[in-house]
Point group: C2
Chain length 904, copies 2
């Protein structure tokens, strides 16, 4: 997967020579994320509020874009400005870059506008060479110096010179074996010296080029490699998944090195100012003595929890604790920080708003309002609506868990319930999960950025090693994927493609269940149940604040009383779509088939009236009771009749087989007769076929039966004191005359039922707007329809000429990946095309009927960007699946908050 061909990098040649490409930390601030990247901007901010940040500077994202636009050539003057900045840096440090007698070492790190953890490249200890290492050894100790040098050569070889990492690992393994030690910290100075020598030989062999000894050359090459890493496979995959634009570029941060591995009075830590998994207001993180930052996150050695630092290094802990407080107050949000202690001196290396689970997001926001740190609006605005989806995902049924076989316990790294078949590498996970659409659990010793494409395609992650801030844990939390990390009980055998735990062997393809919130791994599929709001008081609080802000109502799509009850409990203010076709499925299919196959119109009507009418009446009655006081939009039968008949392909096959075998002639005749009916009903393009109101017009008895069932149920409920508000929705209208044809018949039925029952209820008749022509002739349609409901799925299909049944598989996802379409229009409303039709229909429809009720009932109703659009064009409500109601409530409130901001 490479970056889309139509990506254009902004670069203004006319100002190339006069542009400032390099900013010292003192020159930047947190508001300059676009130009300096998140990391650079925050390093500048921390520097300027007086926190201990090593001296450094940032080469801008604009420089990166210029580099890419020019075909991987740095813009004029960029290196000159860098040389100048290095001189300033040297002054602050009292050393000179390139002076091998007293070397100044720097790190070179990527940093884009949006955090992409681990997606791009970093090089540490840059500035070392065969001479400088000796000076460093003299100043510190030889083991440290040679270890630093070998790390630098290793990273440089991999990142800048494209030598595959496993070659280096292989050399290290040999050295460890020859020295008879088990871990890297035990390797001697001589061992690392040998490693450097062999690394350089490896680089020469693999690339035909010598490892560069000139620090300036090293710096230039490293900067360019970081620029290029913007378009590496991992980074592009990640951006595609997280909808980050491909034309932003990355900044490069050059920072004076501080060493957490300069002995046991040194170390590195990674921490959050609050617990990113639960939101609890305590410092959360890990610290590893005598280590550099990547040792903490790599999971190769096990760090201590940050709280323990209080015992071991109380002064450092106090300093760090104070800094954390300062940062939270300054940024008004929970921070994720990296720091290093070099010989008892604390340095802040990074801070950013911390990634967190949805539960933590919600708790932190509510707590911070309570603490007076932020306003309610800020709390509402902060929460990514899609994220709270996690909170409403099914969790395991407690009884089912008790009954299931618990295999192992690990770290509860990212909450949620995941069930899937086990696989052991990212490529297979991607193939099974993304291409074949299967539920898979990716099981790895530990994950690295190279595994991200597999993680994206998995339902859950299980790792044997690594802690709460390990790569697997961080990425899983961010993706909302359940993750059990550091599950040391399991033994993974990658070759045999299986893991074993307490004598149980789980092979690739076996099913396991992960409870990410508890760190539990079960054998087999554990039953899940729907979540409840009652367990989530903070979410309730936030949504209450959201409700007081939003204008747009949120309704739900619900097809039975259970769904209606759930929708209401999630805050739905009505039912925007009750699909009656689901009521003809299951054990009713047979009865409905009986009607379809009826040979006379009388028989058809008899089955409808005697068999299906009572069932439908009962369906509706239950829904009306649940929705007491709220509107319920019931859509008349929408799909084509052949959806209720057996598959044509299997019938053809059966008939051919029976014929060829001279089988049971009675059965053959039956099957042939059925095939005949199925052939008659068959359509080449059923999406554009005989369904919706067309079916109602051709066979009015069907709709009449449904309207009778609706009004009988409504009258019955009303007599029991239920406040019913039925709204009858006619689907697939394309021409006003269709409504003129069918609506009077149905109104007549409604009136007749109310007369029979002696009850008068309020009701509406309206239509779906799901065919472009209906939107284009909205004024005409509104003359009959009392409400519009945009069926944005179909409207998108027809406006775009895309069949959802086929196109996603055939080309649409490919289009989105290649950037030909900015987004999948079935997930987020295409505002330019489909949205234009919607706006048109709203304005013409309302012009024709002032009190026209307009909503949307496609799947877009639960998509935050689409909800905002619906708010903007003035819809009355969005209707979405019950689980998405909270998301929509939040998104609708955020739309108002954004609108207010834009007006200021």
């Amino acid at each position: 997967m490479s970056v889309p061909a139509n990506t254009i990098y902004h670069f203004d040649q006319s100002t190339e020579k006069t542009t400032k490409w390099v900013y010292a930390f003192e020159e930047g601030n947190a508001g300059m994320r676009d130009l300096l990247g998140g990391k650079g901007a925050n390093l500048a901010e921390m520097t300027n509020i007086g926190l201990p940040v090593p001296p450094g500077f940032t080469i801008t994202t604009a420089a990166c874009l210029a580099y890419l636009a020019k075909g991987e050539v740095a813009p004029a003057n960029m290196m000159d400005q860098t040389i100048k900045a290095m001189a300033d840096l040297g002054k602050k440090m009292g050393r000179t870059f390139g002076n091998n007698a007293d070397p100044l070492l720097v790190s070179v790190r990527s940093g884009s506008k949006f955090s992409m953890p681990g997606m791009m490249d970093t090089i540490l200890n840059l500035g070392l060479n065969d001479e400088a290492v000796l000076a460093l050894a003299a100043k510190s100790d030889p083991r440290f110096a040679w270890d630093a040098y070998r790390r630098f050569v290793q990273m440089f070889g991999k990142v800048v010179m494209d030598v595959e990492g496993h070659h280096f690992e292989h050399i290290i393994t040999q050295i460890r074996e020859s020295e008879g030690v088990a871990s890297d910290p035990e390797v001697s100075a001589e061992g690392w010296q040998k490693a450097v020598k062999e690394f350089k030989a490896l680089i020469k062999k693999e690339t035909g080029t010598d490892f560069p000894l000139d620090p300036w050359k090293q710096l230039e090459l490293a900067i360019e490699a970081v620029f290029r890493s913007w378009n590496g496979k991992r980074a592009v995959d990640y951006r595609n998944h997280t909808n980050i634009a491909h034309d932003l570029g990355t900044a490069v941060n050059v920072v004076a090195m501080v060493f957490g591995n300069m002995g046991w009075d040194s170390g590195s830590g990674v921490a959050f100012t609050r617990n990113p998994s639960t939101g609890e207001n305590v410092l959360y993180g890990e610290f590893l003595f005598n280590a550099q930052g990547e040792d903490v996150v790599s999971g190769s050695r096990t760090p201590i929890p940050i709280a323990k630092l209080q015992d071991e290094q109380p002064e450092i802990y106090r300093q760090f604790h104070d800094i954390a407080q300062t940062l939270e107050k300054h940024y008004r949000d929970m921070q994720d920080v990296e720091f290093t202690v070099e010989q008892n001196r604390l340095w802040m290396l990074q801070c950013r708003n911390g990634k967190r689970t949805a539960a933590a997001e919600v708790k932190i926001a509510v707590d911070q309002v309570t603490e007076g740190l932020i306003s309610k609006d800020e709390a509402v605005a902060r929460i990514e609506p899609a994220q709270i989806d996690q909170l409403l995902h099914p969790r395991f049924d407690d009884d089912a868990k008790k009954a299931a076989k618990l295999l192992a316990k690990g770290l509860n790294a990212s909450p949620g319930a995941a069930v899937g078949t086990v696989t052991f590498d990212a490529d297979t996970a991607e193939q099974l999960g993304k291409v074949e659409g299967k539920a898979v659990i990716l099981v790895r010793p530990e994950t690295t950025p190279d595994d991200v494409h597999g993680m994206l395609a998995a339902k859950g992650i299980l790792t044997q090693h690594g802690g709460a801030t390990s790569h697997a844990a961080v990425v899983a939390r961010q993706l909302g994927l359940p993750c059990v990390a550091g599950c040391e009980d399991i033994r993974i055998d990658l070759k045999a493609r299986q893991f074993s735990v307490n004598g149980v062997v789980v092979k690739e393809g076996d099913v396991v269940s992960l409870d990410g919130a508890r760190g539990e791994v079960f054998l087999g599929a554990v039953k899940t149940i729907a979540p409840s709001f009652d367990d989530q008081p903070d979410l309730k609080t936030i949504l209450g604040w959201a409700d007081s802000v939003r204008r747009l109502q949120v309704w739900a799509n619900a097809d039975d009383p259970d769904q209606a009850r759930r929708a209401r409990s999630y805050g739905a203010q009505g039912i925007g779509l009750c699909r009656t076709e689901h009521m003809f499925l299951g054990d009713r299919t047979e009865k409905f088939q009986e009607a379809i196959l009826a040979e006379t119109e009388e028989e058809f009507n008899r089955v409808l009236d005697e068999v299906l009418l009572p069932l439908q009446r009962n369906d509706f009655y239950g829904i009306f009771k649940e929705m007491d006081g709220l509107p319920v939009i019931i859509r008349l039968l929408d799909p084509p009749l052949h959806e209720f008949l057996p598959s044509r392909e299997s019938l053809i096959e059966e008939v051919a087989t029976l014929k060829a075998k001279d089988g049971d002639s009675k059965l053959l005749a039956e099957k042939e007769a059925l095939l005949h009916v199925v052939n008659l009903e068959h359509e080449f393009n059923p999406m554009l076929g005989l369904r919706g109101c067309r079916l109602g017009i051709m066979r009015p008895a069907l709709n009449r039966m449904q309207v009778r069932a609706i009004f009988e149920a409504a009258c019955d409920a009303a007599r029991e004191g239920v406040d019913v508000h039925p709204e009858v929705m006619i689907p697939l209208t394309s021409h006003i005359n269709e409504l003129k044809e069918i609506q009077p018949l149905l109104l007549e039925t409604a009136r007749a039922v109310m007369e029979e029952k002696g009850v008068t209820i309020k009701y509406k008749f309206g239509t779906m707007i799901e065919i472009p022509r209906a939107a284009l002739t909205a004024a005409e349609i509104a003359s009959m329809a009392e409400f519009f409901s945009f069926g944005t799925n179909d409207l998108t299909q027809m406006t775009y000429g895309i069949s959802r049944d086929d196109a996603e598989r055939k080309f649409l996802l490919n289009y989105v990946e290649r950037g030909i379409l900015p987004k999948n229009p079935f997930q987020t409303i295409d505002q330019t095309g489909v949205g234009r039709l919607m706006e048109f229909a709203v304005s013409e429809g309302r012009a024709a009927r002032g009190d026209l009720e307009v909503g949307i009932c496609g799947e877009h109703g639960g998509d935050p960007a689409s909800v905002e659009f619906c708010h903007k064009i003035g819809l009355n409500y969005v209707s979405c699946s019950p689980y998405r109601v909270p998301i929509a409530r939040l998104a609708a409130a955020q739309a108002v908050i954004r609108e207010r901001k834009a007006k200021k």
Copy 2:
């Protein structure tokens, strides 16, 4: 078929009492067709220019609408005004209606705005009863009087009292037999007296009601029956077919009776002022002595040609000839007249613009310009464009005709070549022709208005009896159906469902061919060939005049050099659509399948480049040569790949059969492999699937090959001096990014070919606008596309959400018949919906690119109403099938003429 449920009859209750419902002929004129109907308006006009018209008056269409709107109740005062008008009429005639001693008899005839010959009801001799008949007998002779009375009772019984006609015929047959005579004129006075008695008994028996003897009661009932006949089955069918609105209503004309059957100095005639079949400027028609008008058209007795009247009644002929001249000059058009001679006195009973064949229409228009009667614009404006389609329909190949078996010769009643299977009744013809889509020839002894639904569904009409103005001939000419009438050689056996001629028996289901221009009937299917303009100098003249008026260009859809040549000969100014998919059919399918089934991309490309490229280059080369100097738009491959693979259903069947039979395992494996590919390519909604530019984007090699073939051919032709103007059309664009993705690749190929060939040619790249979203984002699309071509077929499918492959069969035709849709939107552009998108796209597209070339290439390009719409919204051209080019040329000119008129 009843009138559509949503028909609304205009009726203003507030003015009911003050409305003038009745107009004497002296009060009307030809401009009052809406109110008085065509017949009433023309009777008034003739009265006022001094022609001999019997006194009478018209009850308005408004009265009919009021009657229908009120639920079949006449409006207030209508009968009062009628009574007053009858009194005035009586004064002019010197008799009093209802005076049985000297009865005043009238005819009561329908007459709507548009002529619907024979579709509604007429009653003659109204005013007779048991007393009055005696007075009439005393004044004339008993046989005449009783004949008149029985005719009245018979018509009244059938039309007003709904007694089936065959009952009356049965009584007459018995009387003829009892008197031992063969024909009605030979029946005696006593015979007719007996008939009256038995008719009255029959009416009583069938209806339980007495035949009304009160003339006023007769009049009232007759008027209402005529009103009701507006919604009779025949009338509704006819209006549906001819697109006459159902809410117009009919007027009723009450006219003093004159009798053509008052002896051998009387008679009735039907005539055209010019020959309606050829257009020749001679009186054309028939006269029957001692007969009423319906005897002439019924075909039961054979009339004399009108020219013979000159010999037999020179004075009457002279009078009539003068009147014909006066009428033509007055109306400035050929007239169809009915007249009666009562005892040597000539009365004009009707005149109207005469129906005529397309050939006659064209000749008459050209002649009348030559004669100075009308202007060229009037000539162009007068011709119904759809009619000239007839002139361009295939005719029989002369050699094939010579080789074919000539069965019989009859009257050349309506020209054209028809081939079909024989059937003998209208219902079967309708079932086979309309429902099953087969070509049928309806063979009848003679036709009546009850046969019209079958005639509408037939390809041609053959009758045994009847002349050039017989029902079959008149209706066939109007419908543009080939008709051989009065083919007395054939003997029809309706029971055996066959006819025989000279020993040959033709059974139902056998195929015959009719040459309507020559009155020939052939056994079997005779080969047809395309017509040539050279045979039609008058058409060429008219179209030349049209060309000098129109602004809109007319291009053609042509897929090969032959079609291109024909299109050009018909006046096409370019090729608006060259479909390349047709070039992959026939014996090339196998080669293309080879490419589709290729297992590697290399193999796919190899087949494209080595096999298909040379073939395509050759296709295009021939077209460019034919279109020297004119633009040629070539559309890149549009359909989905599965269209080129075997049918999925048959493969499923074959595989199942092979499996069941344990058949050839190698063949089974082959078929299974093929089925696998077909399944992969299968789509649920191919219309919305992977085709058009989507295919090009997923497999760019296909389009690149095609563009290479286009430019190689164009360069080769250009080098030979041909003036080439290739325009490459990208199909199915929905998003500008699709063009951004594919167009640069194709431009690159074009440039490369021109460089290789060392030739530079002018060319354009553009796109189809056939997806609603493309129209909605026309401004964006025009940033890349140099031309738009509306694919109105697909645009209609998607805008309306209708699949043409299914919907016409499933509901669309039913919708049109029921009036739910005013027209089939695949025939005539839906201006309200689809048209709105088109207007939008034109205006936004042109705003973005001033010189954007915009045309239409759907089938609508040959539909006159759609051509007018395209003119109105400012398209550059319409493109249609070669045969329709002349129609479009004419329609484009008429659009200008109408526009000018509207501006005046």
